[in-house]
């Protein structure tokens, strides 16, 4: 038997966990799971060098280690600080941490457009979740918010820089998954922006679509799915196909309504990280059910807005019409949707270029 590695004992919010040396505080907390896991907006376990920038995962180290029990003087980014044996960390048990986190959320939101009602990321947005959990309802920011022009940075990807929180995940993705990174950060300070030096140049490689999945906000969205539907109206379905690209894991989530596939993404775990990266062919080109082997519905966290349309374990309300009518059956009761042509089922929304317009629903009288 191989020699057993010495494990480090770490106490996070008074819960002890044993982890391998070299583990970060964040990953140790993820080993425990639940509420003690600090939120992370820029750290991505699958991307090397990510993390440390958004500062939402700040925690307080109340005891450095068994050998050196001094507490660390400042709050530290848990995603980039490795554990020591005997370390004690306070996350939700430290008012200082919660206060600082609230501050960070406020900073992230002061220049965010808060255009969730028209944002495609809404419902699966890390920033939305973070603000619900740690933010405040009002803003103290009274100035004009910073804005940028929207940009098409490739055939399939839309960049909405105004929404960006500069987590650098997409930069790392392009560095580590594609042959050559075509985009990066330009300018500095609060004028910094993600961009390509030459417009529309993010098409050269087959893996750049993953920047959409790693983006925690709606800054990078899928142009083949933009404005087609809200995520909570769609049914996520696990599916796979034999992809020709050896680097692509082929395991995806299809976002469907009826038989239409609106969007294909990689499978995300409970921390919003993909389980495996997928190629652009799977993501953008395969929008027919026949392309895929469907495995079954994807499990979505019960509290997520995405599962609001999925009635699991809910009692169906009983038919009460007969009861209130003293046992008589109603004379006329029909499902209007089965006979109405208003929605025009023959128009396949997912096959349209761009958002649907009235011109896509022709009537006898011409355009409505």
């Amino acid at each position: 038997m191989a020699e057993e590695k010495k494990l480090f004992k770490v106490k996070i919010d008074n819960i002890t966990v044993e982890v391998e040396p070299g583990t970060t505080i964040l990953n140790a907390a993820r080993n425990i799971g639940g509420e003690v896991v600090p939120p992370a907006m820029c750290y991505y376990s699958k991307l090397q060098g990510s993390g440390g920038k958004c500062r939402t995962c700040l925690v307080k180290v109340t005891k450095g280690s068994e050998a050196d029990p001094r507490p660390m003087p400042k709050l530290v980014a848990s995603c980039r600080t490795t554990v020591m044996d005997g370390m004690e960390v306070a996350n939700i048990t430290s008012p200082e941490v919660l206060e600082a986190r609230k501050g960070v959320v406020e900073f992230l939101l002061i220049n965010h457009p808060l255009d969730c009602p028209v944002c495609d990321q809404a419902g699966e947005c890390d920033l939305q979740d973070l603000s619900y959990e740690h933010g405040v309802s009002g803003t103290r920011y009274e100035f004009k918010r910073r804005t940028f022009e929207k940009e098409d940075i490739g055939e399939h990807i839309k960049l909405h820089m105004t929404r960006c929180i500069l987590c650098y995940r997409c930069v790392f993705t392009a560095d580590q998954l594609t042959e050559k990174r075509q985009h990066g950060i330009l300018k500095r300070g609060d004028a910094s922006e993600i961009s390509t030096y030459m417009r529309a140049s993010l098409d050269q490689t087959n893996f750049i679509g993953n920047v959409i999945d790693v983006c925690p906000v709606g800054a990078l969205t899928d142009r083949t799915a933009r404005f087609k539907n809200r995520v909570w109206f769609l049914k996520p379905v696990d599916a796979h196909r034999d992809c020709e690209d050896p680097k692509c894991c082929g395991k995806t989530v299809l976002w469907m309504r009826g038989d239409e596939i609106f969007r294909v993404t990689a499978r995300k775990d409970k921390y919003g990280e993909v389980e495996g990266f997928i190629c652009d062919t799977c993501r953008f080109e395969k929008k027919e059910v026949k392309d895929w082997v469907v495995e079954g519905p994807r499990k979505i966290a019960r509290h997520s807005v995405i599962s609001q349309g999925h009635y699991v374990g809910v009692h169906k309300p009983q038919e009460t019409v007969a009861k209130v009518m003293d046992g008589r059956q109603p004379k006329l009761l029909m499902d209007i949707h089965s006979v109405s042509e208003v929605n025009m089922p023959q128009v396949d929304l997912s096959q349209l270029e761009g958002p649907a317009h009235s011109t896509d629903f022709p009537t006898n009288k011409g355009v409505q």
Binding site: G51, G52, K53, C54, R55, L58, K74, L75, A77, R80, E99, A100, G103, V104, E106, F107, L108, I110, N111, R140, Y141, F143, I165, L166, I185, K187, R188, G189, D190, A191, S192
Partner: protein, 452 residues
């Protein structure tokens, strides 16, 4: 006259050139170190001198050197931080412009002590004419056998390269400097690992300020034990102070760290007092990022002692009533200066220079500037002052590098000590556009602390 160690020969005509420098005792320390001392002995001497880093943080240099990792077969680097961008600080420029050989000699001795065969001088791009001076001096040193292969026959090799920055304050932060030197965006790295373990090109690296490295020369010349006799206590040696603002004689002064702040401002040897008979209102004694203090707290500490120009005395009272030595950018404000306006210009600077990597600094600095602009231009509200306080509190300590702290401290100190001036601006928006708040009570003697 205070004793001098660095600028004692600065007045000699032609000291910029090798021949004159050599004739006046130059490179004697280098000969002494390389020929008669081992690298560890040099480090030991620097440790004994107790010299603290002159770049701002004041960390003991000898200690920093001893942290350098020394794995086999991995090159080590020494980087000279000449990215002097702190508003109010211009001492390194003076040193490099007039005594380039002093810096090169210091670099040679330090590189020898650290075992670095390649040394970089990272100089800010705005000092456009200084790289030429340095490169000329490096060429002269080469010609005379103090650089290159097998220096003085000791077998020690050293090359010094001058690299220009492209105009970013953040590149004065050591890890951002290293990134920039590697040719990348100047973004601070997340520590650990510290540069002493993984710095330039992932190799052990020491980054020191220009003045620190130049001061190695007198330390070797007179010995660490003698160096400690300059200054008071842990503030050993001499310090270059760049004095500016409302004083009669602005400029770079070398002080022995045993004089009082009052003497420094009013004596004819140094600043020569405040012009036009005006009175002292406030001072930032260590470069723009250290806390501003009003006149009464500047001249005496909260305990009622005379405040001295030393690291400890300036820091006496912590942030509540003290300030910091910083990089020695001594900015004096007389009674006609407006602290709100002054704080605004500092906030504007930090907003402009924030690198944008981590969120508190990127978003917070801009927010502070906008709020301060409102207050300064008569559109402020009372709640804005508390808001400012809250913003700075949430930036400080929560960022990757100290730029966040540097942006937060001036605002915090201005509100802490000059809150009534801010309130006056809010309450009298029209009057605040026409006149300044004036000196009011800022120079009044402090209430004597009750004996405990």
């Amino acid at each position: 006259m205070g004793r001098k160690l660095l600028l004692d020969k600065a007045h000699i005509e032609g000291i910029r050139y090798y021949d004159v420098y050599r004739k006046n005792g130059g490179y004697a320390a280098a000969e002494k170190a390389l020929k008669s001392m081992s690298p560890d002995q040099v480090t030991e001497e620097v440790k004994k001198s107790g010299m603290r880093g002159r770049g701002g943080a004041g960390f003991p240099t000898g200690m920093k050197w001893s942290f350098l990792a020394k794995p086999e077969g991995v090159p080590r680097y020494l980087v000279c931080n000449a990215d002097e961008s702190e508003p109010g600080t211009f001492k390194d420029r003076y040193l490099m412009e007039f005594l380039p050989h002093l810096l090169i000699e210091g670099l040679l001795i330090s590189s020898y002590a650290l075992g670095a065969n390649t040394t970089y001088i990272y100089i800010r791009g705005e000092y456009a004419w200084i790289p030429d001076i340095l490169e000329e001096a490096i060429a002269e040193a080469h010609k005379n056998g103090f650089l290159g292969k097998n220096i003085l026959g000791t077998g020690f090799d050293l090359e010094i390269y001058v690299q220009r920055g492209a105009g970013a304050y953040i590149c004065g932060e050591e890890t951002a400097l290293i990134e920039s030197l590697e040719g990348k965006r100047g973004l601070p790295r997340i520590k650990p690992p510290f540069p002493a373990v993984k710095g330039l090109y992932q190799c052990p690296t020491v980054v020191n300020n220009v003045e620190t490295l130049a001061a190695i020369v007198p330390i070797i010349n007179i010995g660490g034990d003698e160096y400690v006799k300059y200054g008071i206590g842990k503030s050993s040696g001499t310090k270059l102070i760049s004095a500016c603002g409302n004083i009669n004689k602005p400029g770079v002064y070398e002080i022995e760290m045993n004089i009082s702040v009052e003497e420094f401002i009013y004596s004819d040897e140094y600043c020569g007092g405040i012009p036009n008979g005006k009175r002292l209102k406030a001072c930032i004694p260590g470069g723009s990022s250290v806390p501003i203090v009003p006149a009464n707290l500047l001249l005496t500490t909260a305990k009622g002692e005379k405040r001295m120009m030393t690291y400890e005395s300036l820091n006496d009272g912590g942030f509540a009533t003290g300030t910091m030595m910083g990089s020695g950018g001594f900015i004096v404000l007389d009674e006609d200066q407006c602290v709100v306006r002054h704080t605004l210009s500092l906030a504007r600077f930090y907003h402009h220079e924030s690198c944008g990597q981590c969120s508190p600094c990127r978003e917070g600095t801009g927010w502070m500037e906008k709020v301060l602009k409102n207050i300064e231009h008569g559109k402020g509200k009372m709640s804005d002052i508390d808001l400012l306080w809250d913003i700075q509190r949430k930036i400080e300590g929560n960022t990757i590098c100290p730029l966040g702290d540097a942006a937060a401290w001036p605002v915090a100190a201005a509100i802490r000590h000059f809150r009534d001036e801010f309130e006056w601006h809010v309450l009298n928006p029209d009057e605040a556009q026409r006149r300044n708040f004036g000196l009011v009570h800022y120079a009044d003697p402090l209430p004597v602390a009750a004996a405990v």
